[in-house]
């Protein structure tokens, strides 16, 4: 026991300074944040609500979307080989005020300007941490490290500007999560948005779930284009008039106003996770959803915020015996009783909630035997699954580990049916990647609408697509320098040793700070959204 006192005694001065610094930094961040979340019943117009009217401003699009060329017919069937990909637009999420950029006068930093300003630096709070299309593809939501959600809406087709269709404009921006401090554990809770999931649309409003490490929130995004006017109980300044002076009662009339998009938090699901939430998934019954952290998965009902059911718990009685953690989880797209979760050991478990209340026993267990020739110090790290996604059909699951993407058939548990090498040339560099922490990067993977093409990200702002039918693959780059609007993306190639051909890039020249972790594919069309640090690129397939 003495030993622990000695440790505490020695560390206390240092720890105390750390705690104070953490608290101070949170206070400073709150003070300098120029906007606040939209709480309460009255819709408070925040400077961030995009005001849309007949003259829609093309905020965030800049010169990159000036229409050139003929409109491209969009088809889901072209896969990635036949067509080519063109850049639709590059969107900069609005820069956040942060301690790093204090030299500029806060007052002069107008949010509208920041849409168009082209920063050569990105504050860490602007880094996009999740991207998700809604079920129709009309809306695209991004979350960033600063706890903000930005929703983009697809440009409506109009007769005179047919080729502008496919571009996305900012629709709504709101602060979803704030940094918090857990005083009991002396931990700061990051406000970074880990995941966003849309609910299917059931009325005029849009609903989405957003989560940080500890708390899930249900947001309602709705449009308001009418305002009640004609109150006579208050004077022009808003002060209540003396009731003795009021002689008539006027019923307020709804008058049209400029379209305003407002986001309100409808539910807050908090205090259910001891560890960091890594996934959320909406069930196909649209009444429940699950949230997964490192060791537990909880099932929630959208209407009930003070209770959740724990359906998976892999925490060992003795934490020293911990060997694996949950890394991702998703509900089956059609069977509301089934879900899968992946582990850090490279295994996937399919569970059926009808079997028992606590789904610790899996129905199916997917694991590929390890290749002993590839064994190294880092074998466990690179086999850890970073993302798992059901195909739209519900027949397959796709998993992403550090070097590969694998497609599994739900009916075959002993090995995947397809394995795609994303960047196998990194296998010999694992030690350096361990040193610079890149080996811990969690790449996501996505299916296209017809489940024929899969896509995932890599380094140097490269992302890869694999056509499951033709077995062709392509590497593309999302970068400012190489992308003019409507320009066709040129396939890239990484040269592995030997002579480097022109246009190839050698492994040692790859920029590991430019990583594409988050991508999204439109549910029915060949439109993709690729997040590269603080930039969101939208590409569409152009069939020649």
């Amino acid at each position: 026991m003495e030993q622990s006192y000695v440790v505490a005694e020695k560390f206390w001065p240092l720890l105390r300074v750390l705690f104070l610094a953490q608290e101070a930094s949170i206070k400073l961040r709150k003070h300098f944040f120029p906007f606040s979340p939209l709480w309460g019943f009255e819709p408070q117009a925040s400077p961030l609500d995009s005001i849309k009217g007949p003259h829609t401003s093309t905020q965030g699009l800049g010169p990159w979307c000036s229409p050139t060329g003929s409109p491209a017919p969009l088809s889901c069937e072209t896969g990635c080989g036949e067509g080519s990909w063109i850049l639709v637009c590059r969107l900069l999420v609005p820069t956040q005020v942060s301690l790093l950029s204090m030299e500029e006068d806060i007052d002069t930093r107008k949010i509208n300007n920041s849409f168009l300003r082209d920063h050569s630096y990105a504050t860490e709070a602007d880094i996009i941490s999740t991207v998700e299309f809604n079920h129709t593809g009309e809306l695209l939501a991004t979350g960033d490290k600063g706890g903000r959600v930005v929703i983009f809406q697809r440009e409506q087709e109009s007769k005179n500007q047919v080729h502008r269709r496919g571009e996305y404009n900012v629709y709504s921006t709101f602060q979803s999560h704030e940094p918090e401090f857990d005083y009991l554990k002396s931990l700061e809770i990051e406000e970074k948005i880990n995941k966003i999931r849309w609910l299917p649309q059931q009325n005029a409003a849009y609903f989405l779930l957003s989560t940080n490490d500890k708390t899930v929130k249900l947001w309602k995004v709705s449009e308001r284009d009418k305002r009640p006017e004609g109150y006579n109980l208050k004077d022009e300044e808003g002060r209540l008039r003396d009731p003795a002076t009021i002689t008539t009662l006027r019923v307020p009339v709804l008058r049209p106003m400029d379209l305003m998009v407002e986001a309100t938090p409808r539910r807050v699901f908090a205090n259910a996770h001891t560890y960091h939430i890594n996934s959320i998934s909406v069930n196909s019954d649209y009444e429940t959803y699950m949230s997964a952290d490192d060791l537990r998965i909880n099932l929630w009902n959208f209407e009930i915020t003070n209770q959740s059911f724990n359906i998976v718990d892999i925490k060992p009685a003795n934490m020293e015996e911990l060997t694996e953690v949950i890394t991702a989880a998703e509900f089956h797209p059609h069977h509301c009783n089934s879900f899968v979760y992946s582990s850090s050991k490279g295994t996937i478990r399919l569970c059926d909630m009808r079997a028992s209340a606590l789904c610790d026993r899996h129905s199916k267990f997917f694991e590929e035997p390890e290749d002993p020739s590839n064994r190294s110090f880092f074998s466990e790290i690179i086999s850890s699954i970073s993302d798992v996604k059901f195909s739209h059909s519900g027949r397959y699951i796709m998993t992403r580990d550090y070097l590969t993407v694998k497609v599994w058939d739900l009916n075959m548990e002993n090995r995947p049916i397809e394995t795609y090498q994303v960047h196998d040339y990194l296998r010999s560099k694992l030690c350096s990647l361990y040193e610079n922490d890149c080996i811990f990067d969690k790449f996501e993977c996505v299916w296209n609408g017809s489940d024929s093409v899969i896509m995932t990200g890599s380094y140097n702002n490269f992302f890869r697509m694999f056509d499951r039918n033709t077995k062709r693959d392509v590497t593309l780059e999302a970068s400012r320098e190489n992308s003019k609007p409507r320009a066709i993306l040129k396939p890239r190639k990484v040269c592995v040793g030997g002579k480097r051909r022109k246009d190839e890039i050698s492994v040692d020249s790859l920029d590991f700070s430019k990583k594409i972790l988050h991508t999204a594919w439109h549910p029915s069309e060949n439109i993709i959204a690729v997040a590269a640090t603080n930039n969101l690129y939208i590409f569409q397939d152009k069939v020649n």
Binding site: Q3, N278, Y434
Partner: protein, 171 residues
Amino acid sequence: MEFKLEAHRIVSISLGKIYNSRVQRGGIKLHKNLLVSLVLRSARQVYLSDPCPSLYLAGPAGSRGAAGVGGGPAGGPAPGSSPLKKPRRNSEEQPGGAAAAEEEMETGNVANLISIFGSSFSGLLRKSPGGGREEAEGEESGPEAAEPGQICCDKPVLRDINPWSTAIVAF
């Protein structure tokens, strides 16, 4: 021999990561620390199982070193836990993977360990074998005499494994 150096390097990098994760924003990330501890365990096993007699320490601290070597390749869960393990067992966010593989600890190393951590790991990478010998006796003069960033290629490397084991447990 190369494997040993590589393993040593990986062990020190891993410990650095564990140490840094304590002060990272957002709290300790269980997944990352579990992976780091698995790497640590693999590297340590390689290190201890690689036969390289010149690195074994003979001397007053030799008994500890030899015990460590003998138990190394087996690497089972520690039956005798160091006193430091007990208070930490209740902590929710401890990466148990590496701790489970440790052998018996010498409590005398803990005081060392604190001063090593306090000097930001410079004590772990030591240049002179002579400085390392004093450290094994449980005194705190070693870290101050150490130069940061030096990779140790000689004798005291093996002896350092035990304080590192305690480091993981302490974390």
